[in-house]
Amino acid sequence: MLRRNLLQLLGSSLAAGALTLPTSVVFAKASLPANDPLRDTARRFTAARKTHPFLAGWESVAPAGAGPVSATLSGSWPKALRGTLLRNGPGLFDRGGQRYQHWFDGDGLIQSWHLGEGGITHQAKFVNTKKFAREDRSGKFEVMAAGTTVPNARPVSGPDDANTANTSLLHIGGKTYALWEAGSAYEIDPESLATVGPKVWRDDLEGAAFSAHPVYEKDGSIWNFGLFDAKLIVYQIGADGALKQAQLIELPHGGYMHSFSASASKLVFVLAPLMRVRDAGSFFEGLGWKPELGSLMVVVPKSDLSKPRFAEFASGAAYHYADAWDEADGTLGLRACWYNSGDGFVSPFGEYVQGYSTLRAPHGLDLVEIRLAPGAKRAVLQKSGVNRVEFPMPTQLMQKSANIYLQGHAAHPTGGLSAVLSLDKNGKPQGHFDFGDDFVLEEQLYLRCDGKRYTLGTIFNAKKARTGLVLFDLARLSDGPVAQAWLERPMPLGFHGTFLPG
């Protein structure tokens, strides 16, 4: 009886190819070096932070979180603008005397800016992921991080063992999720910021990659993807929060992809030629730039997710894609903030995280337009002439947006994004406002209130080491923010957020 059951067990389950180990966050064994580089990093950062206030942008928040506290308001906050800006980003870089070396490694810290009748209240709480809970109990790093080789890291069984849920937020079907990209979405309570747990969209999707950049469809549903080597899952989640469909697409090869875009009829994905070339170490440390592969565009009709079309074009990489559109002749277009090479792409602001006070400028970050003609095997990339921009925010979906708002890099010591720019449909600048060398402007969200158009987002005063909130009236963007709210303390620089009205 025992043997028969065992035959059933192993004969059917450990069959050839049945067991695939995760790759994006399963890491090779790291031997313990004589000098722990993570302790050296911690010492260097602590020393540098004393003389460089801007490094507060990469300083850890206590595991218990922060707040709630009231922000100091100035300017003219519209009375009708009520709701909560939720932002996500890495917030804990240090444990047990060790410090991560990559910005993307920090545990997900959800920051809440509640705009209520009594003012603006800020609080922050970590997503209680399996990784965070485990490391909080032990007081040390336990698993390999996305971009840092943790000495003697314990092996993980799948991406969710190392999921930091630190990249963005999604609100759909009345529920709010903290998103990573290589593992599950984590549901959180948007008011208390308490963690509910990892979301399973369907049994066969448990623990599967779910990117941090879903794209809204006009009916309120969302599209999203998960990438695992050369396997791409395309998701559609209904406006009610239930999975509508999921399609597995086999790609010609792997690569790296952080976001995507959608026209009215198609989903468009672009794989950057960043391949895992080293067996040891963390995921990002093991990536190699393979320009000979080129970039790979994957076009998937919304009407049939099982029929992808592939096209190659110039090698490059983007974290963020903006709008995508269908032209009358069937050409597909999209815009992106484009790095010309992998250099500077895989570890943005990595020097600061490690306690160095100078930064290599990224190669590129040009706003580009990529077009694929009907029947063409290659796409064509064209630069717009707008350079050193990130976090594109189109105001219209599924079409060439009438406006795009972006953050601009300044040539100041922090190398951060100090300006907000407005471009028209053709990429022509319409206005901008630059806070200057002492500020880093974070993602600004486009929203409407009382018939007016605004952007709302956070800002970091790098000189005074304080974090705030700024509101732009887009009718007079170049005049500067119409309202501000400041904390007395810095918060770690984050990635992406969402605004929940009400």
Binding site: L2, R3, N5, L6, L7, Q8, L9, L10, G11, S12, S13, L14, A15, A16, G17, A18, L19, T20, L21, P22, T23, S24, V26, F27, A28, K29, A153, R154, P155, V156, S157, G158, P159, D161, E181, A182, D204, L205, E206, G207, A208, A209, G226, L227, F228, D229, A230, K231, I233, A246, L248, G254, G255, Y256, M257, M275, R276, D279, F283, G286
Partner: protein, 145 residues
Amino acid sequence: MSTRLTFIAAATFAFNSVAFCNSACAATLTVKITEISEVAGKMGVRLVASGDAYSGKAKATAAQMLPVTSKDPMTLTFPDLAPGTYAVLVMHDENDNGKLDSNMLGIPKEGYGFSNNPHVMRQPTWDETKFEITAADIAIEIEIL
């Protein structure tokens, strides 16, 4: 996003008397299984004595399957083993459905482990999981992932 890491475990499983010997040269292997996360289903443990057996191309030396009744470490023994090179593969069939469940990407949803607890991000190889048994009894510990 990354390199695929697929490993192929044995498709076949059967006892093979070749590796057993009489009591004069016999050793007992004690396997302690730790980090059990779910009190459910059964723990399947497979002992192999060659690279071919490891990859399912030849018969395993021995196998056991035990119900999981606690998160406490589970200990089992393989007696009467001849000196040689062996590896142990463990899988936790948590829902007792007779297979190791995985998601659409092929990532296991149930626990598994190997001798030597290799910290690898690809298919653990026979070389990474193998260990030597002499005439003396031996105990190993396998951590369930």
